[in-house]
Symmetry: C2
Subunit: 322 residues, 2 copies
């Protein structure tokens, strides 16, 4: 039996952990001690699309981990670095899947492990009801492909996809994961940035293009700019992010970056619009809109700290013309 470790046990990490625990020896590395204790005590329950409960092993201490055949890093993008720093060597003989939004997590993993690294892109969704209970919602595929700079063999990618499928999830091994990853990158960067700045969930506004002030024009422009960067770096998209946006705009779903700014937590913008801006600079093509979104979100993050230090004059007391 293979030994697998899930790093980060939010909704997505919980879904991977529970399903894989049906076909492998699963460990979970959590951030909080109480979370690990609850999982060891109660196991992990899945409801919704699938219904079952599994036993698994959990810890918040990387030093307690054994060596693994496979790992899935399911933290938020900003947590990848601290999560893998201590645990990286436990995967040196195996493979490690990144399951973050956006671009740039694989490079961070590569600095901390000798594992074969696999690019992962997932559209699964779930709601975390407690430390030991996750509801499985969108039963959609995880796309896996080699991380080219490390030359990950396709057979290893295929093996990882097979294990996910055996556990009851949808997964597909692709010779090149970038067309899927970039499709989702462009979609996510555009939708998350606009949502976080406007406060709107992914709603019909995002596809409206009737009036010149309508947000759909901006989404279209952001997506077109992202496509041009993809072309410049030699990636042909798997899906059209504008079509993905039109479908998503019917859901009124709050994207993760909107949830982040509501909680004043650091966002993943470095891995989304920030990544598109960096790739554009590398390829020497312009990306003014994603660059603007990147800088605005960074400014918003700076504002959280700034407002605590400085008490601005209450809004109703100022009324100058500036």
């Amino acid at each position: 039996m293979k030994r697998v470790c899930i790093i980060g046990c939010g909704a997505i990490g919980s879904l991977y952990a529970a399903h894989l625990a049906r076909v492998a020896e699963v460990w979970v590395l959590t951030r909080r001690k109480e979370h690990a204790e609850a999982l060891n005590r109660e196991g992990l329950r899945v409801s919704g699309t699938h219904n079952f409960t599994v036993r698994l092993r959990a810890t918040d201490q990387a030093v307690e981990l054994p060596d693994f055949d496979l790992g899935i890093v399911a933290t938020k993008a900003a947590q990848v670095k601290p999560s893998i720093a201590d645990a990286g060597s436990r995967f040196d003989q195996g493979a490690l899947i990144s399951a973050q939004n956006g671009l740039g997590s694989e490079e961070i993993l590569a600095e901390h492990t000798r594992a074969q690294i696999i690019r992962g892109t997932t559209f699964m969704s779930g709601t975390r009801h407690s430390d030991t209970h996750v509801q499985y919602e969108l039963d959609t595929s995880t796309w896996l492909g080699p991380f080219e700079p490390r030359g990950t063999p396709f057979a290893i990618v295929q093996e990882a996809a097979d294990m996910l499928v055996q556990g009851g999830l949808k997964a597909e091994a692709l010779p090149d994961a970038r067309p899927a990853q970039w499709s989702k990158l462009i979609f996510n960067a555009s939708v998350n940035g606009v949502s976080a700045l406007t406060g709107l969930p992914h709603s019909p506004h995002f596809a409206a293009e009737a009036k010149s002030s309508d947000l759909g024009h901006l989404l279209h422009a952001l997506i077109d700019e992202g496509k041009e960067v993809a072309t410049a770096v030699g990636v042909e998209l798997r899906e059209d992010p504008w079509e993905m946006n039109k479908i998503g705009a019917m859901t009124n779903h709050p994207p993760s970056m909107l949830s982040d700014v509501r909680k004043q937590s650091p966002t993943e913008v470095d891995f989304l619009s920030g990544a598109i801006a960096r790739e554009a600079a590398r390829a020497q093509v312009p990306a003014p809109l994603h660059t603007a979104i990147y800088q605005l979100i960074r400014g918003k993050e700076a504002g959280w700290g700034f407002q605590h230090e400085n008490q601005p004059v209450p809004a109703h007391e100022t009324a100058d013309r500036h």
Copy 2:
């Protein structure tokens, strides 16, 4: 003695009304009845840079107004239309100054009065302490110039500037007000938009350009884009908006659009980035960044109503990868 009417009596309107009441018969048109009653009862007090109290006449009913030699519309840009609709004919034999932020107020006035219309741009600032007490802060000039489509004679502009100076304010009559108006437009559109989207007051972030994520790059790009639109429509700027931004960035002052979004009040974006986007379209030059700011602020305004209608899933309960 000339008869003057100030329409809108916030901080700026109060400063005009009080100073002019020292050299003219001044009426004030307010939105709220209690505001007019308080002014009639107590007069209007100025503190700060200047210190005095004046008597004047106030009403919230346009039908009670007599005919005027001069008017100053000092409402917020979004209030110009409802304010002037009933009062416009009272200025048919006189002159009317617009003192709004941005571009587009003069055109609205022109639809509702036969007055000689004067473009006004002011950098005065004040804090409104109550309905009858305003603190005068920045003792800076009001620039006045003809509204070209109406062919306002320069002598009338000069006469209005003289009256403001006699009242104790700084004012300058310019043969062409657009270089000053556009300098402030570009400055205000860029600073207000970024402030409202990030939540940051006009702080050192706005001039920082060390890191690629720094907001100063975005301000610079917005200002450069505004300058290109000004050139395309044939306006040579009076001041460099980037220099204005560098100075303002040391103040930590909350721009009016930040105050608006904190209160969830409609913003003046139509007259700021929206106006730059419209002028760019008219001149057939691109303005992608001001267009994006315009659409984002409009989206933010849409979000206020939207979130009341829909209860999104609480942020801490969702953790999917979208």
